[in-house]
Every structure is written in structure tokens, then in C-alpha cells.
Symmetry: C2
Subunit: 336 residues, 2 copies
């Protein structure tokens, strides 16, 4: 079996062969080594920038792998800001001894997902550390998107009466990775929801240009992300537990593990806060899209609380009203 | 002593406090959590993109630290392509147990170096892995620069008669890190040359707009980078050993360690290949700049070799002519 050696990270001949055989083979490129990539495509709008490192364990799990995740995560961070994702960079930190076939599978998955998302991977870097100094493969992706003129989304812009939409069931990714890693004797159809959301975000914005903000509820889950939106806006967000879609096997796994599904990461869902008059249009566009057909309207923005700052309230199935805040404590390490 | 906990990577309240207390304190920012940063500044030219991950050990060494290196490395990759470096992203992978004061020092060093380089750190990400799953701190920086209209540098564009310039002594960074890590009983004034080069690159391009290409000779050193330029151009590059500046303690350390200084990484030097008629102007501008005052003209581009592909020749101090190729084998792991 071919394995990663320290040589592959030295910047010399072995690095050049790895770049040629694995990275250029998957991502394309002219192979001329330059220190940066200069892009000839024009920019009509403002630049959006984001970065994310991925350390998920195991690297392969039902519904995805670290490569798919690394592309989706960064593409989605751009898309929810109203940007059209255009270019990605990919930085790899590899542990000596990593199976080269596994690396090639991961890189092929990145390339496939990038095509699905309509982005190009245009720059990369590889470092290798000795056995025991990292765990398999860590990937950073950074992304550049273009926000069309006139479009401004912001977590701080929610107004009373706005509706809160989520594009599908929550908690699938985190529980799928957790169970793939630890087993726990849990069976059931647990799969990561990992998918690129640029086309869904674009469809929503076309149908409802008055969208206040979008976010993708990754680490910390739906509740943490909604709490951040409430805080940024200084508003009270109220969500109805009954309306939040949670798949049965996800709920069952969460019950067994003592997790709240509202705090478990998604990697293929988006939250949208939409003005009341455009909420139905946004919801219809969501339901009409293959990546949003299980979406729901889950909440509403109320008036600002009397004290300063915003808050998140959960109207429980039992009829109570419970305040939620950001995730506290290490619940699910290395799920992305 | 305060240390990094797994909680700090969970995306919840602990992550928010770390971001506020360490990252926003150093880099600035409004603190509103969004998934990407949208930049209001205009773009006049083409976008240049690059990425680099840094895993240097030890994290602190004479002349720099992993934070300074992470900014310089990415800024320099943009600058040598003729881009004005503008924005950086920073992705941190932290090992549980990392000293929070060390992290704060590293981040402060990044912020200082970013100011020196004229760039802003505008987006970030933090992941935490358990003890033993990484080694202290790994940093990815990705960078966006803007290439002014009409400027096109390319490693493939060298022509016969072009001169090869290097902006200062080579091999300082790699030997300084190696000796800081391993000791080897070596004494002497070994310091990393790590520094941002955007202003030097800009001064060179102003004085000599006909610069064919620039590169920064990091991993693999001067020889590997010149070999890549020779290959991309299909030309023969001949460099004179006598003219290549190597500081005495660097040469002494290399002799003891059995390393060739031409293959040892720099982190604050650039190579420029300049048309013959502008070589003197470029050289004068280099010598007049505080980051290039120890620079030299070290070689010349000859005709293409008869066989296909380019080659690099070293005219040795002894008078011989020796072909050099890219670095083979793991010489200096984790020096950047």
C-alpha cells in the first residue's frame, strides 16, 4: 500500500509528484508552479471571504467524507451571505503513513462536490507531519464568492414579524458522525445531510429578495445559530418545537446519547429569516427545491426584549416557553 | 495556567468567548457572527488567491514564530505574483491543552505582521482536537490580493539574457528553525529571515516593470524554486555559487548538518527574473530597500537546452558546472 511520507511535504520532487498525481488529476490546472493563482474572471459585486478547517473523525462516514464536508462547509458559508461561491483554496495537513488511496478518494470527493456546487479549487498547499503529530488528514478550505450589487444580508437586520425558515430536518450530520465513530450499538438510518446549498440559497433570494439573513447551522446546531441571530438583532426569536423537523432515527439516537437535536450540527441545511410579506414566497421556493423540500417555517421574530440583547425562546410540544442559549460544553468533538 | 479545552472548538459559548477575547482583540472586527465576511472595498484588477498551512516546530524560534510565518508566507506568495496583498483568512487547529497565553502571543504576532504587511485578517475559524491528535497549533492562512490591470508575471516567461536576482542571503530560516528545535550543539547567530515582502516587490515592479517573474524560495530553497522556473520556461538558468549570498553562521550550520544552503528554506527573500535591460534598475531598487539591501544578481538565463525541458546549472566556486534539480527526500521536516 502506498503511504504518505515526510518527503511529500518537503516542497521538492516528491511534493511535485503528489501534486501532479493526486491534486492536479482531480482539480485540473496547468501544473505550472506559482506561489498564487491569478484569476482572469471579472468580479461584478463585492467579494465575500470565508475559511474553515475540517478535522472530522472518521474521515469517511455515511453520507459523506471529510473532502465533501470541506467543500460544502465553505461553499455554504459563502452562499448564506448571499454570495455566489466562485473559488476555493485547499490546504492539507497530512499525517505520515496516511494511505494514499484514502487521500485520492477524499480529493476525488472534493472535486465531485465542487462541480456540484459550481466552484473551482484554484490553489492548494500540502504539509506532512510525522506519525502521531496529527490524526490522518486535516483540510482547510477557504472560499471567495461574489455578492451581487445591492444585496446585503446581515444577522443583525431581523425585524418584528419576520419568519424563521429551516430547509430540512436538523441534527443528521452530527449524530451520523458520532455513531459512525463510536457505534454505541445504535442502528438506524443515520446519514450526514452534507450537501452544497448555493443553488438553494440562490433560489430563495430570487423568490424573496427581502430575506434578512441566512446562516448554516453547523457546530452548535440550530439553537446556537438562532441564538446568535437573536443576539445580533437584539430581538426575541420564538421557535415552535412541534414545527422543527427532526428525523425519527436522529431523535432516537439523540435520546440515547443524551443530546438535544437542536444543538447538533447540520452540514446541508440553511436557516433563513424572511420578512413577513415574503415568507410564503420563500417557503414555496424552498419546498420546490430538491435541497429544501423537507423545510419548514419554525418560528417568528417578536419584539425586542425589555432588557438589552436578544433571546431565543422554544415553545415546547408540552406548551411551555423555554429560553435557549448557545451550546455550552463539549458535546460532539470533531464532527466537522 | 489557562489552557485550550475541547469546548473551545465546539462552536458554542466557549468558542464565542475565545473569538472575542483572543481573535477579535487582536484582529479587530464588529463581532457579529456571520458565516463569511463581505468586503466593501472595490477591486481594480484581477484577483490573486493563495493558501498555506503552517506546522512549524517549535512554534517560537529566533526571528519569528508560527504566527509571523503564517502571515508572511501568504502575503509573500501574493506579492511575488505582482498582487497587492489585501485580505487574509486564518484557520486554527489547536491541540487540547495548548497554553492560552502562547496562543495569544501567536495571534498578536500575526496582527503585528499583518499591519507591517498592509493586510487585514478578515475571517477566521478555530477547531480543537484532543491531546495527541495534533501538535500544539497548526495555522492555515489564505490570502486575496489584487493584481493591477496589465501586470502579468509568470514563471514560464523567462527569456535568454534575463538576469536572476535574489533579495538577500539564503537558508537562514530553515537552519534557524532546525537548530532551535534540535540544538545539535550549534551556536552562532542563526535567525529566521521571516518578513513580509509586499513593499519590496512593489518597489521592484515600479523600477522594473519588465520583471518576468518573482517567487519566494520557501520549502526546497533557492535551488528548487529556480529549477521550477527553469522547467516552466524551458530555459537553462545558470547561477554562480560565488555570487549567492549565504551568511557565515548559516553556512557553518549547514556544513555541520550536511545540508546544502541552496536547498534550505527562506521566508523573507524573493527571487526575481528580470529582462537584461531592466536588471540594473531592479537591482538598484532592491539595494535601496531595507528588505533587499543584501541582495545580489546571482545568475542568467541562457538558451533553451537541446533536449526538451529546462535545467538549472550551478557554476561552482571551484569553476565547475554542476546541474541541480529539485530537492529530493525529507531534509527538514516542519520548518514552516
Amino acid at each position: 500500500m502506498n503511504r504518505i511520507l515526510l518527503d511529500h511535504g518537503e516542497g521538492g520532487a516528491a511534493t511535485a509528484r503528489l501534486v501532479h498525481d493526486v491534486f492536479l488529476a482531480a482539480f485540473g490546472g496547468d501544473g505550472i508552479p506559482e506561489d498564487a493563482t491569478v484569476l482572469d474572471e471579472g468580479i461584478d459585486g463585492r467579494i465575500a471571504l470565508t475559511t474553515d478547517s475540517f478535522v472530522v473523525r472518521p474521515a469517511f462516514f455515511p453520507g459523506g467524507d471529510i473532502g465533501k464536508l470541506a467543500v460544502c462547509g465553505t461553499v455554504n458559508d459563502l452562499a448564506v451571505m448571499g454570495a455566489v461561491p466562485r473559488w476555493l483554496t485547499a490546504g492539507f495537513i497530512l499525517e505520515e503513513g496516511l494511505d494514499l488511496d484514502d487521500l485520492a478518494r477524499i480529493v476525488a470527493s472534493m472535486a465531485t462536490t465542487a462541480r456540484d456546487a459550481g466552484v473551482r479549487v484554484v490553489a492548494g498547499d500540502t504539509k506532512v507531519v510525522a506519525r502521531g503529530e496529527a490524526d490522518g488528514v486535516f483540510i482547510n478550505t477557504s472560499g471567495v464568492g461574489v455578492v451581487p450589487p445591492g444585496r446585503r444580508l446581515s444577522s443583525g437586520s431581523c425585524r418584528p414579524g419576520d419568519r424563521v425558515l429551516v430547509s430540512g430536518p436538523v441534527g443528521d450530520h452530527g449524530t451520523a458522525v458520532m455513531v459512525a465513530r463510536e457505534g454505541f450499538g445504535i442502528e438506524g438510518d443515520l446519514r450526514s445531510d452534507s450537501q452544497p446549498l448555493a443553488d438553494l440559497a440562490s433560489a430563495l433570494l430570487a423568490a424573496a429578495p427581502g430575506i434578512r439573513c441566512m446562516r448554516d447551522p453547523t457546530r452548535g446546531g440550530l439553537a446556537t445559530t438562532l441564538f446568535e441571530i437573536a443576539q445580533a438583532s437584539g430581538m426575541t426569536l420564538t421557535v415552535r418545537e412541534r414545527d422543527i423537523p427532526v428525523r425519527r432515527p436522529v431523535q432516537a439516537a439523540c435520546d440515547l446519547l443524551g443530546l438535544g437535536p437542536l444543538f447538533v450540527a447540520c452540514e446541508g441545511r440553511l436557516i433563513a429569516v424572511v420578512s413577513a410579506d415574503q415568507a410564503d414566497a420563500a417557503f414555496d421556493a424552498m419546498k420546490a427545491h430538491r435541497r429544501g423540500q423537507d423545510g419548514a417555517i419554525v418560528g417568528i421574530v417578536g419584539d425586542a426584549p425589555t432588557s438589552s440583547g436578544g433571546r431565543l425562546l422554544l415553545q415546547t410540544c408540552a406548551g411551555g416557553l423555554r429560553p435557549l442559549t448557545a451550546l455550552e460544553g463539549a458535546q460532539l468533538p470533531r464532527i466537522c
